[in-house]
Subunit: 366 residues, 2 copies
């Protein structure tokens, strides 16, 4: 499958990129919803005790909240445009109208801690035109196309001087605060390496220097040998609830080879990654026969110009429930001390997910 | 006011401590609810990428979930005991029946990462006998007694060999997962210094070594001079939304002097701390005329035997809402990357809280 791409600029100056399995009509013109709140200008403040940047984007209070019309559907009435133009394409990516990071951010306020303009960018990824579908339900070719899209965004955004880390993610379900139900994810391109990525990379770096091998690659090999926490395994990808999982149904998905980012995945690895991702998401939905809310986070190598042989691309999925009807709340211990408390064991939960029966993830491009 | 204390052991072996402003009747005998799930045996597993301990307590799945009877009310029917005995006292502390940490934890499972028994303890603090009251609504003498209780727990638990950090906290409201509405908090006594405390302490340690003064003490002085983010100020305590706040209404409360733990607070400082805490909680409830859900976390010096001149006791309050009816969800950026995004400014929110009109926090012990 060849990835077809059309890069354009919306009337209000925001980037829009269309992706398809077939060539995209040159006649498609970008659109943008009417009305706006002026140019965004987010800034960063340094937290001197936690030693991390906090992003402030005041205009976001105005952002869309469960609107009655779907801004991620293709425009039908040209007088009332959505975010997407009419026409044939499979996936669309555009700059968020209410971004927490923006390439033109400037002149941060002068306060008693260090500040910076919150450069970088925040993008929305529309997974499919089917407003009632879901990422996991997509056929294999469409999931594989999305892996290509995430890789393309990682490559393109990673080239920017103001981007040190490209972070695709999906928040799914009202339980994690989702305001638009049309299947979509987001990509934050941070002007710094975020704290959790930095911590994981430091651990991987130390292991790499001591062992000459990847920490996660070695761990995955041991998990595969141990079998009990594996959810799905194929030649080029694995899904598991790691032995140190924090959430009850916390699944990690990774290529078995230590590829640093999505960009370095081979065609075979992309297909395996796509099939494994679809399999896991279908199993989560099949478990209790209802859409399972989650946060899905991609962890990959920074795009800071340095080599990162230690980095091993993987996806961490944090499902919101620990039992049917019982959410995992992050409260005193997690938020105030940073100590996660789990009331289930990864071994049990992995067996549950393994046993969830699903239709196989398949389907070639039409 | 003198703190009166009675330490006892429940029939099932758990600790119970009663606290009062007046002497406590020697005839009061400890009680415990009927039925149980056997002795708890939580364990820790090491997360090799995040470099932190995760606590696993499988028996907690069974824990009380919005029960119809109040286990924190004093026992009325001896045939159907609650957690508290009848009699006159003001505050009670007991070991959690479903603890995430337990002094007798033993023989952790052997898995492919390091494990430890989850020693330490988890306590419940019943703030008042008024099931429909709240921490903030308590009179000054009762809040001051609670400061004494938290200090007593810090001292007593801190003496234990298996405790390196004493962490009082309160989760308030269904929005943060609270299952019992009777006003209560908790205390986790961790067998290690938790990651967030460790990070804050490292920053304070570096500042201390470079400047010979406290990081937070200096920051508070600058905030007090700047005025705009101060919520409440008195001679021995301050409440503010710090310039680097992550949550919209994130209030910090601290003694102005850099006391390392609650134990070192003078009588005057305890009273000021109590009045400031009550003032802030009343202002939060007054803001929108409804109980404001929050997580409240105490950050103090570890009890690891080392001196901690760098540590400055403070409370961090994380209110759950960012606007009326709109929760702050922790999602992709916060949970997956560790980057907090705020859509309001501390300056604006501090002015709102300053303006919230409340009855003064006062009242001497009867």
């Amino acid at each position: 499958m060849t990835l077809h791409v059309r890069r354009m600029t919306k009337p209000d100056g925001r980037a829009l990129v269309l992706y398809g399995h077939a060539p995209i009509d040159e006649g498609i013109a970008p659109v943008a919803p009417l009305g706006d709140g002026g140019p965004p200008n987010p800034h960063l403040r340094w937290h001197p005790l936690r030693c991390e940047w906090i992003a402030y984007a005041g205009h976001r209070q105005l952002r869309t909240f469960l609107p009655t019309e779907d801004p991620l559907a293709r425009t039908v009435d040209p007088e009332n445009p959505t975010e997407l133009p009419p026409g044939e394409y499979d996936v669309a990516v555009f700059e968020n109208r209410f971004p927490t990071f923006h390439g033109a951010a400037h002149d941060p306020p002068s306060v008693m801690v260090s500040t910076l303009p919150a450069r970088g960018t925040a993008e929305v990824v529309v997974f499919t035109h089917d407003a009632r579908g879901s990422l996991g339900a997509l056929p294999l070719w469409h999931l594989e196309l999305l892996v290509d899209v995430w890789a393309d965004r990682t490559r393109e955004l990673g080239l920017r001087d103001d981007v040190q880390y490209v972070f695709p993610f999906e928040n799914r379900g009202v339980e994690v605060g989702v305001t638009l139900h049309h299947p979509h994810g987001q990509i934050y391109a941070y002007p710094f390496v975020p704290p959790l990525a930095a911590r994981e990379l430091a651990a991987q770096r130390e292991y790499w220097e001591n062992h000459g091998r990847g920490l996660l690659e070695d761990h995955l090999a041991r998990e595969i040998e141990d079998e009990v926490r594996i959810v799905h395994l194929e030649e080029h990808a694995v899904a598991l609830i790691p032995v140190f999982a924090r959430y009850a149904y916390e699944v990690w998905i990774a290529p078995r080879r230590a590829a640093p980012t999505l960009v370095e995945l081979s065609r075979e690895e992309r297909r395996a990654f796509a099939r494994t991702l679809g399999t896991v998401l279908r199993k989560l939905d099949a478990l209790w026969g209802r859409p399972f809310p989650y946060v899905m986070a991609f962890h990959q190598a920074p795009t800071d110009g340095a080599p990162h042989p230690e980095a091993h691309l993987h996806v961490e999925i944090y499902p919101a429930y620990r039992m049917p009807g019982r959410l995992k709340y992050l409260a005193g211990s997690e938020l105030g001390a940073g100590v996660f408390t789990a009331d289930t064991l990864p071994e049990t939960k992995a067996a549950e997910l393994r046993g969830a029966s699903i239709a196989p993830v398949e389907g070639e491009a039409p």
